[in-house]
């Protein structure tokens, strides 16, 4: 009987709280009423736990650029093990095979151009009018991730993770941690995260020294690293992120994140070069090679970027829920001390077709300004600048992605989806940076790509 009285007192308290808070708890009042109905004083407390289990997300992704540029086939497996008391272990494995390459940075010309391969062993030749690309490039990459998530007291969650990847010329090792806490009847979540990565580069044929001329090929399969080729390089990346997620109304959820990223070390791309051009015609400068020597037909320099980069980004996302449909809109602003500013607007709309099928159109718009040291070419005879890169990814460009995803549930309750997206990137090189004949030729390698993904999700 005492327990009933205690429960009744709790019920009275609950009733008072009800008026004070929209999100009321009726647990105590319900327990008291149930005791009275069933004539029991104190039932044994329920003990129900989820059976620990595995959950698998698998995806096969194809990314293909036009004009024999990059083709990437990637297999992703994400396995999540659920433990009791809301603890999770997530393990990820990604395997990529990459063929083709991005344009090397040299300008297209009205004559054929010959370049030394990064390995330094052979040369390749680009036809007149084409953006120079080393299409003999091949690589494969293996990446692993592991993360542990668990509650930390009642309203907080901690995530700890590590990541590692290896490819022929690049290794990555990263650690990350994130803490989030719910406030305000779980209407507000604050989170803070920290990530640190150590990456090593060991380019084929050694790391080139920035702003030195492209070397000759030695036609030798020995991996000697002479001349202007340096040893293995590395970079460190430190990231902080602070976020607020807020329930605005029963239909609207908003998130705002600020993140800061600090990279230091070797930040150049060892495979990117710049054409040296005549100050008046803007044409590339030919080199006369000695007989029997295989090497570049024109003067090119390896690129050089600053050895540090600080980025600030502000990200905001809204999810609007209406009768089973979901509109997900996000915007990101990024600015860095290389003077690149970028804006990304992304929209997704989840449109259920039936109980088990949905369509999801996707649109993404991206625009960025060029890095301060971006330039289409170097002028032969002028003093070399402190930093220079003709990498089109550091230029001024706009990109649009448009795609559609179709998902359904199988009879066995597993999820399948297919996604098809088209990507179009077009750049703009300021005419003040172009000289003579360059004004009549393509100066920015526009890009079209197709993305296809098949995903399958199942549990065990």
């Amino acid at each position: 009987m005492a327990a009933v009285l205690v429960a009744a007192a709790a019920a009275a308290t609950e009733a008072r709280n009800m008026k004070m808070s929209e999100r009321r708890s009726i647990t105590g009042a319900l327990a008291a009423a149930t005791c009275t109905l069933l004539g029991t004083s104190s039932p044994e407390p329920v003990q129900a736990q989820e059976e620990p289990g595995w959950d698998f997300n698998t995806a096969l992704l194809y990314y293909g650029e036009d004009n024999d540029r990059v083709q990437d086939l990637s297999l992703n497996v994400l396995a999540r093990r659920t433990f009791t008391d809301d603890r999770f272990l997530t393990l990820g494995l990604t395997f990529d095979t990459l063929t083709g390459a991005t344009p090397n940075g040299a300008l297209p010309q009205s004559v054929p151009q010959t370049f030394t391969q990064p390995s330094g062993r052979r040369t390749y030749t680009t036809a007149p009018g084409d953006f120079p690309i080393d299409d003999t490039f091949r690589d494969s990459r293996v990446a692993l991730t592991a993360a542990w998530q668990q509650p930390l007291r009642r309203l907080s969650t901690i995530n700890l993770g590590l990541s590692a990847s290896a490819e022929f010329d690049y290794t990555h090792l990263g650690l990350n941690a994130k803490i989030s806490r719910d406030f305000n009847n779980r209407n507000t979540t604050l989170s803070a995260g920290l990530a640190f990565a150590m990456d090593d580069l060991d380019p084929v044929g050694g790391t080139p020294i920035g702003l030195t001329p492209m070397r000759n090929a030695d036609n030798d399969d020995d991996d000697d690293e002479g001349g202007n080729r340096g040893p293995t390089e590395s970079k460190d990346i430190l990231d902080f992120v602070f976020g607020v997620t807020q329930v605005i109304s029963r239909n609207l959820l908003m998130q705002v994140n600020y993140s800061y990223s600090d990279s230091s070390g070797y930040l150049s791309d060892p495979y990117k070069i710049l054409s040296a051009v005549d100050a008046v015609t803007g044409d590339v400068v030919p080199i006369t090679q000695m007989p029997g020597i295989d090497g570049p037909s024109h003067l090119n320099y390896y690129e050089l970027r600053p050895d540090s980069r600080r980025k600030h980004s502000l990200y905001t996302q809204a999810k609007y829920y209406m009768d089973g449909k979901v509109l997900d809109a996000s915007y990101r602003y990024m600015t860095d001390d290389w003077e690149i500013d970028s804006h990304t607007l992304e929209l997704r709309f989840r449109w259920p077709l039936s109980d088990s099928r949905y369509l999801e159109p996707h649109l993404r718009f991206y625009t960025q300004s060029a890095a301060e040291f971006y330039r289409p070419s170097l002028i032969d005879g002028d003093p070399l600048p402190e930093y220079a890169s003709a990498d089109y990814r550091l230029g001024d460009f706009d990109a649009i992605t448009a795609g559609m995803k179709y998902g359904w549930k199988t009879g066995g309750g597993n999820d399948v989806s297919v996604r098809l997206e088209l990507y179009k990137q077009s750049g703009n090189v300021s005419s003040s940076q172009l000289i003579g004949n360059q004004l009549n030729r393509d100066s920015y390698p526009d890009l079209n790509a197709i993305i296809f993904q098949f995903a399958y999700r199942f549990g065990m």
Binding site: T27, L37, Q49, D55, N251
Partner: protein
């Protein structure tokens, strides 16, 4: 009146380490899993549970003539004096009516005159709903225990509580009658009396789809306590592409929008679990937020996974 009631019989068969007693009650398959060496004991406990389920069905089913519910509903405005058990069920319903700010209402059954949930797109007219709504509302009932009086045309219905009450009552009787480990399952509303000796817990499957898991069915380990499920993925109405659940809001007369397909709640008793899952369904899009505030374990099924399920967590 000839009701084509299913034949009342029980069967007991040997399961995997336990006995399985089965019978039909309240339009649901019911079972009693008994971990005992003696088949006679399993039969005795199944008979005990079945007798209690049938007693409650006979007494409170709105489909049977002459019982207390029928007498109340056919009173045509006259006052009806009720017995103690009925009085307790009515008191409990009144508490739930107050706790849910009118969303749980035993007078709302008459809305069935307007709504048919057969998966079709047949919508009642606003005029019909308005007419039926005049007969809905506990605030129109005069209840001074043990006497109940309501206007002609109004009805009460314990359908929202009967099965959970029955399984809790049957579990109490079985617990008192035997020391065996038993699990009672009345059409998905279940009570574990004691953990099984051979394994630590009873394994129970629940339908769930959430943002974190793809499993259509999750396996739960229930040692002791109750699980109740509200909602039914097969009962709904589609009109203009919008799917309406069969959960009707007695305050509006309309189905609740954005409710999960089903909700399973774990609680000490099946009555508590059933009330929490029912009230959560009535919260619609806020179902998960409501359950979070109750500090109970629950599993929601919202159909397709991904952002939709995630966004559903928006309160």
């Amino acid at each position: 009146m000839a009701t084509d009631r299913p034949e009342r019989k029980i069967s007991v068969e040997s399961g995997d380490g336990f006995w399985r007693g089965q019978f039909l009650a309240m339009a649901s398959p019911c079972e009693v899993l008994c971990e005992t060496d003696a088949a006679e004991e399993a039969r005795r406990l199944t008979e005990l549970a079945a007798a209690e389920a049938w007693r409650i069905e006979d007494k409170f089913s709105r489909y049977q003539q002459g019982n207390i519910v029928d007498r109340i509903n056919e009173a045509a405005g006259a006052a009806v004096e009720v017995d103690t058990e009925t009085s307790q069920l009515i008191d409990f319903s009144v508490t739930l009516y107050e706790l849910s700010a009118g969303r749980f209402d035993i007078t709302s059954g008459v809305l069935r005159r307007a709504w048919r949930f057969d998966g079709s797109g047949n919508f009642p007219s606003a005029a019909l709903i308005e007419k039926v709504m005049r007969d809905v509302g506990w605030d129109q009932v005069t209840w001074e225990a043990p006497v109940l009086q309501m206007r002609p045309g109004m009805q009460i219905d314990f359908g929202g509580i009967g099965k959970e009450y029955a399984v809790d009552r049957a579990a109490m009787l079985v617990r008192q009658a035997s020391r065996a480990s038993c699990l009672l399952n009345f059409g998905g509303d279940l009570v574990a009396i004691r953990p099984p000796r051979n394994q630590e817990t009873w394994k129970v499957g629940v339908e769930t789809v959430d943002a974190s898991s793809s499993n259509a069915e999750k396996l739960l380990n229930l040692a002791v306590g109750a699980l109740a499920t509200s909602g039914d993925a097969r009962r709904y109405l589609v009109n203009n592409g919008i799917r309406y659940s069969h959960i009707l809001d007695p305050k509006t007369g309309w189905p609740v929008s954005d409710a999960p397909r089903s909700i399973t709640v774990a609680a000490d008793t099946c009555t508590q679990a059933g009330m929490l899952s029912t009230l959560a369904m009535l919260e619609g899009a806020r179902a998960e937020a409501f359950l979070d505030a109750q500090q109970v374990r629950y599993w929601c099924n919202r159909g397709v996974t991904g952002p939709a399920a995630e966004a559903a967590k928006i309160a």
